[in-house]
């Protein structure tokens, strides 16, 4: 019995993997560029959603620094993958700092470097702040995110300041890259969460006093979770820069973090599968909501509500509705496993079964 369900789960996972790969292949080759771009954005938002859920959902730390970590990863990729011959034309206000002007990295090392620098930044901000409890962390990380943005605006010779960097090679606009990295990070997150360390993170979330009484060093584990989260967000940010082909400090306002907050709240704080589902819903939803930003004329009468910015009103309303009525999100803290799916359909069947016999008796 045990072996049968295990076998079934392995087969289902294999089938799913094949379907996903086929879909990526199909989408990459046959869908139009606009849709591919949105799908890539979905994958990148999944990565950053997962990184935020690791910190907020699984370890129970209230951090709002995701935009900052993303910015670090994004700029690292932008700076180091920018072709050498284009650098002088892009950095026309002030030439690039000679220390980095001659360094060019290919995409993967740049992506990893972005993650490492973001992880290191997470360590620097986490070391003093993670000794505090609760709301202080949210405020400090929010501040951190803004500091990063201001640094990016003012380090003219490194980041090209407010002008930003464009013409970044668009590696991530290929679904194999964005989805490949997203799948790797998804698997790593799942492995981490189900390891002894993941259990320790969850223990801290559940009750930090009890966790400490069970011999878990709170500070050390909080820093670990924070650094891993920062690393993943940095990698996600690198992909983001490569997908958009351009970075500038304004993209990384702290309001960007709220997109990921929405994703993890909608998906469920502490659910990996919930994060994946919510990333797709939120990313596509934000794209669909754009129609509300354009003037709409119905029968010669212009509806005055539809103007730039209206989509954000709807976005905020949706967030409020979720918090009020679905405070646990789509998945809560549970995961969408094969066992659950089959149990669900099993229940549907058993519910249907008595109905059909009823139907039979009336006949």
């Amino acid at each position: 019995m045990m072996n049968n369900t295990k076998k079934r789960n392995i087969i289902c996972t294999a089938i799913l993997a094949v379907i996903v790969l086929a879909l990526i292949y199909f989408a990459n080759n046959y869908l139009d560029a606009y849709i591919v771009r949105i799908l890539n954005l979905c994958a990148i938002y999944t990565i950053i959603g997962l990184s935020m859920n690791l910190i907020n959902g699984f370890t129970g730390l209230f951090s709002l620094g995701q935009a900052g970590f993303m910015a670090i990863g994004a700029y690292t990729v932008a700076i180091f993958t920018l072709p050498l011959d284009m650098r002088s034309t892009i950095f026309y206000m002030e030439p690039m700092n000679p220390a980095i002007a001659g360094i060019h990295l290919s995409f993967v090392p740049a992506l990893l470097l972005g993650g490492v620098i973001a992880g290191f930044a997470a360590f620097l901000i986490g070391a003093p702040v993670l000794r505090l409890r609760g709301d202080y962390l949210a405020i400090a990380t929010l501040g951190f995110s803004e500091i990063i943005r201001i640094l990016l605006t003012n380090l003219q010779s490194i980041t090209n300041g407010a002008l930003g960097i464009n013409k970044i090679p668009d590696n991530a606009n290929n679904m194999w890259w964005s989805f490949g990295v997203a799948i790797v990070i998804l698997i790593l997150t799942a492995l981490l969460i189900n390891s002894s360390y993941g259990r320790a993170f969850k223990a801290i979330r559940e009750d930090d006093i009890a966790a400490e009484a069970m011999g878990i060093n709170l500070f050390k584990h909080k820093v670990m979770s924070f650094v891993v989260g920062g690393f993943f967000a940095g990698v996600g940010g690198g992909l983001y820069a490569s997908l958009l082909g351009t970075v500038d400090p304004k993209q990384f306002y702290f309001t960007l973090t709220y997109n990921f907050l929405l994703i993890i709240v909608l998906g469920g704080m502490g659910s990996i599968s919930g994060t994946v589902i919510a990333s797709f819903i939120v990313t596509c939803g934000l794209e669909l909501l754009r129609t509300f930003d354009e003037p709409l004329t119905v029968a010669g009468y212009e509806i005055s509500l539809f103007r730039p910015g209206f989509s954000m009103v709807i976005f905020s309303l949706l967030l409020m509705i979720i918090v009020l009525f679905y405070s646990k999100g789509l998945m809560g803290r549970t995961e969408l496993t094969w066992d659950r799916i089959f149990n669900f359909f099993g229940k549907m069947k058993s519910k249907k079964a008595p109905k059909s016999t009823e139907g039979g008796s009336t006949k």
């Binding site: 981490l192 002894s196 259990r199 223990a203 009750d207 966790a211």
Partner: protein
């Protein structure tokens, strides 16, 4: 003569698991615990009793590192552990339960137990995440030990249940099991029988005795159920408003006029 004396002193000292010297805790102007001297010897069951607000849990919190004493020292096997962090003290072999149950509510019974073994795992986060051989071995060992402990504590058939779904008595039991999972030498129980009916209290009394013998433990407990305290304790300390008003064997405590006064006389006066 001198060396002989010294060796005698040493053997006596080795028997002492926990010793506090002048342990004092002040919250602002309130002295919650005043100059508490405790001596807990190996394999003893020692009780700390006293009316509500006497400072018993504060004493526990100082021993386990939740609070740093305002003054005084705490020694575990002669080593000064005053002001050490709770996780460090747990790793030194002191485990505890809480007065108001603090389980990892949303996690399974099994996870509650295995989390208490996390600190004993020496693999780092990378090898644990990537399932490298060392980490896999450690994980397997932790799982086996947890299963065994659950079996022994009679919780094996609820191991997949969410901790908060257990009935109250079982939650208390699970908390003790979780403390045991850290493989302690000294077990601190903060009101283990709180909210239990007489029958459950009796069962718990037997089970504490059994656990003490099976796991070769020293037990230090706070309790209000006098039947339980008098039956299992080797020694009793009595606190009242932070002051130690009595210490000794159960028989000595029962005949101590100050203790009787604290439990009966003063309360009556206060009410009148």
């Amino acid at each position: 003569m001198t060396p002989d004396n010294k060796s005698i002193n040493e053997t006596i000292d080795k028997n002492i698991v926990l010793r506090t010297e002048n342990m004092t805790m002040q919250f602002g102007g309130v002295v919650a615990v005043d100059n508490l001297h405790l001596t807990i010897r190996e394999h003893q069951i020692v009780a700390l009793i006293g009316p509500n607000g006497a400072g018993k849990t504060t004493a526990f919190n100082m021993i386990t590192g939740v609070y740093t004493p305002s003054s005084g020292k705490i020694f575990l096997h002669g080593e000064d552990i005053t002001g050490m962090s709770p996780d460090k003290i747990t790793r030194k072999g002191v485990a505890r339960t809480f007065q108001n149950i603090r389980l990892f509510k949303d996690l399974s019974v099994f996870d509650n137990i295995i989390i208490a073994k996390h600190f004993s795992m020496h693999s780092n986060i990378f090898s644990a995440t990537l399932r490298l051989p060392g980490a896999v071995r450690a994980e397997k060992k932790m799982r086996e030990e947890s299963e065994e402990l659950l079996e022994r504590m009679g919780l094996a058939d609820v191991k997949d249940a969410v901790a908060s779904s257990l009935p109250y008595g079982q939650q208390r039991h699970l908390e003790i099991a979780r403390a045991l999972a850290t493989k302690p030498e000294l077990l601190l129980l903060d009101e283990p029988a709180a909210g239990m009916n007489p029958q459950e209290t009796e069962d718990l009394t037997a089970s504490i005795k059994q656990i003490q013998q099976d796991f070769n433990l020293t037990v230090f407990l706070i309790e209000h159920h006098m039947d339980l305290v008098m039956e299992i304790s080797d020694r009793i300390y009595v606190l009242d408003f932070g002051q130690t008003i009595g210490k000794g064997t159960p028989a000595e405590i029962q005949n101590n006029p100050r203790v009787v006064e604290a439990y009966l006389g003063v309360d009556d006066d206060a009410e009148n």
